[in-house]
């Protein structure tokens, strides 16, 4: 078991390195850097000016070295530029260049600065402050906390409904209940977030013809989440996932219900409810559990759409903003966070599967 987890962790680490390098490579391509130079310097820079601007700031070096610096395993550059100014990657505003630390990368907790808002990326995303003298305002939680909160509520709504729908549909395959519930889950899994969100806003929030029960924007939910401003985003994410998880649960449940041991229990005279609760559920829920953990990457896409649609400033909203504004460090930060979330969820899914399934655990 330990060996299994160790090997999984090794692969995870390798995957994380590969993925972050790909993101680093794609965000640091020359056209992106040129755009960065022009937005940071001035828009009328000539090509040579762009080149010197980039060279002075250490952008015109080998991609692997830059990646190592960003990661924090290669010492940060100290470059005396053609304009006579000495710049160091690890230098902080207000302190001398000589005082700068050798390494400053993601591993040291230094995520760089957003080129748009000039705030430290780590602070914005995680809501932490690496500088104890300027603690962050608690009323402005990090993007990750906001997204985590949204995902948590989406999961709290999704999982019980999806499992119940799946179990009730799968326990009597082909019955009227099954038909109705299956149609419901097919319909919801055919509704992407940008469709369900639009429809939900139209029904519940539109000022023209809607019921006006909820708000079409979740901007206030960041500081004061409540039923009025948080229901629609949570429902939007939940709906799409309910369908998928319910269908998986139904398939798994239907398969278990045809197994020999269920027939044996039936012939022994165990009541139907007893069979479902005592014998079928345990085995039927193994597959949905893995599915739920593996759903998290897809959930992330849903979160990006929902946060954009409802103007909720979490990780997804930040991703769209950073990509739109060519905010390289921020985009890298968001990628790290989402890649870590995906990999952890895969690990949980793997380990959980092994734990839940005695056939694998004992071999």
């Amino acid at each position: 078991m330990l060996q299994f987890i160790g090997r999984r962790l090794g692969i995870m680490l390798l995957t994380a390195l590969c993925l972050t390098f790909v993101v680093f490579f794609l965000t640091n391509l020359y056209p992106n850097l040129e755009k960065l130079a022009k937005t940071q310097g001035n828009f009328r820079m000539s090509e040579e000016q762009v080149d010197t601007w980039l060279a002075n700031r250490g952008y015109k070096r080998n991609m692997f070295i830059k990646y190592g610096e960003w990661l924090g395993v290669v010492p940060g550059y100290v470059i005396t530029g053609t304009d006579g100014e000495t710049r160091a990657r690890c230098a902080r505003k207000g302190s001398a260049i000589e005082d700068a630390s050798t390494y400053c990368g993601v591993l040291q907790g230094d995520w760089g600065y957003s080129t748009v808002s000039k705030e430290p990326v780590g602070d914005v995303l995680l809501g932490l402050s690496d500088n104890p003298e300027t603690p962050r305002d608690d009323s402005r939680p990090g993007r990750l906390q906001l997204t985590g909160y949204l995902m948590m509520w989406a999961m709290i709504v999704t999982i019980p409904i999806a499992l119940l729908v799946g179990i009730f549909a799968g326990m009597r395959e082909g019955s009227k209940t099954d038909r109705t519930l299956s149609t419901f889950s097919i319909a919801t899994s055919a509704t992407p977030e940008y469709v369900s969100g639009v429809v939900l806003i139209a029904i519940f929030a539109s000022s023209a013809v809607g019921l006006k029960w909820f708000k079409g924007s979740a901007a206030q939910a960041m500081t004061a989440p409540g039923l009025e401003n948080f229901t629609l985003p949570v429902l939007t994410i939940a709906l799409f996932n309910i369908g998928y998880i319910a269908r998986m649960t139904r398939a798994s449940m239907a398969e278990v219900m045809t197994a020999q041991y269920i027939r044996t229990a039936r012939l022994k005279g165990v009541s139907f409810a007893g069979i479902v609760i005592k014998h079928a559920l345990r085995n039927a829920l193994i597959a949905p559990f893995t599915i739920i953990a593996l759903q998290i990457p897809y959930l992330l896409t849903g979160v990006v759409i929902t946060e954009t649609l409802f103007n909720y400033k979490g990780i997804g909203w930040q991703l769209v903003q950073a990509a739109g504004n060519n905010d390289i460090e921020m985009l890298l930060g968001v990628s790290v966070v989402s890649v870590v979330i995906v990999l952890i969820s895969q690990l949980i899914s793997d380990i959980g599967y092994v734990f839940l399934n005695p056939r694998i655990r004992l071999s």
Partner: protein, 400 residues
Amino acid sequence: MDPLSWGEIIIRIFGQFTPVWIALVLTFVISIKFKHSLGLYGRLFDSMVGMVGFALVMFWAYTALFTGLFDWIATHDPLTQVSGMKNKVPGTAISNPAEGLYEYYLLGGDNLARDVFSRVVKGSVIVIAIAPFATLFAYMVGITLGLPAGYYGGKLDTFLSFAANLILAFPVILLFYLLVTPEIALVGIPAYMAAALFIFPLIFLAMLLNSKYETRPSVRTPVLMVVIGIGFLIYMSAISDTNRYTLVDFWPSFLDLYDVNPEILIVFVSVVFVNSPTIFRIVRGLTLDVKARDYVAAAQTRGESPWYIMLWEILPNVRGPLIVDFCLRIGYTTILLGTLGFFGLGLPPESPDWGTTINDGRRLLSVYLHPALVPAFSLLSLVLGLNLLADGLREESLKD
């Protein structure tokens, strides 16, 4: 003129779709009449769910076909703005219409005074043109790599599986934001990816024919030469472009049969790229499952080549789950295309595809519902149709 009532709007829309209804009825009548000799497709008409799904899918397929080929159905040009029609409710009459212009905006106008109905109809062409083909290409990639990975196992499998898991660990939306930008297109990455991904259908076809006729060189050589020749011409025409974003600029222009719209190409390539790892995993899993069967052992004993076993023994025997997944995946691809449009990635902002239209409409959603709701329901009905179709196919294929 007075605005139309809801009843009149429905009747008029119904009338606009007349060619589609005729085609649908014909398809159903012919299919049901000959359903006993049509295999799995014929048995689809035994299940209600499958028929409803098939009807929804074919409705949009015929709509796209007739709009794309003959310019029927749509009442207006999807880009023309008519003054005074901004955000007008469905059924509004155009004041002083020009000669020959349809007098009403059947489903209202959007925030740039364009006809919502025509945009949705025209948008279906983009969706129907890209989604099935992108899925097909992704299948070619997934099958060509998944079969050997599952059949041979070993280092090849380890490497390919790691690469597939790598792509799968990317949140799709992040990948899109990284790949589908004008800057990336300037570097030529989509062109390289197109060159790499589009070669797979060619490899697939060549392998398929080669393994079949290997023992008869007199048939194989001419067949392969013709197929590879034509395929290579199509392939080179697809990846070479006389204008921009080009990788292959040495290809002579008289052999360049057509140019692919670069924006569509980027969208197409990234959708194929995102879909292939999942298909790879499915094919690999199915191959692992099937390769221990007796008929595979029999073929091995006969001394058949590995590719013959993979393509002519294993692949036909796993077609059931693959066909079902193919339908589901077209739906998923449609959702992905919508996502790209929703974030304004790839396709031009005035494009009538459904994702872009939903994105346009959502800004004024709390006041004007129709510009966003109409494309939303269109997309929903198409994806729902594909899911129902897949469900019906699965049910019928399990009956054997």
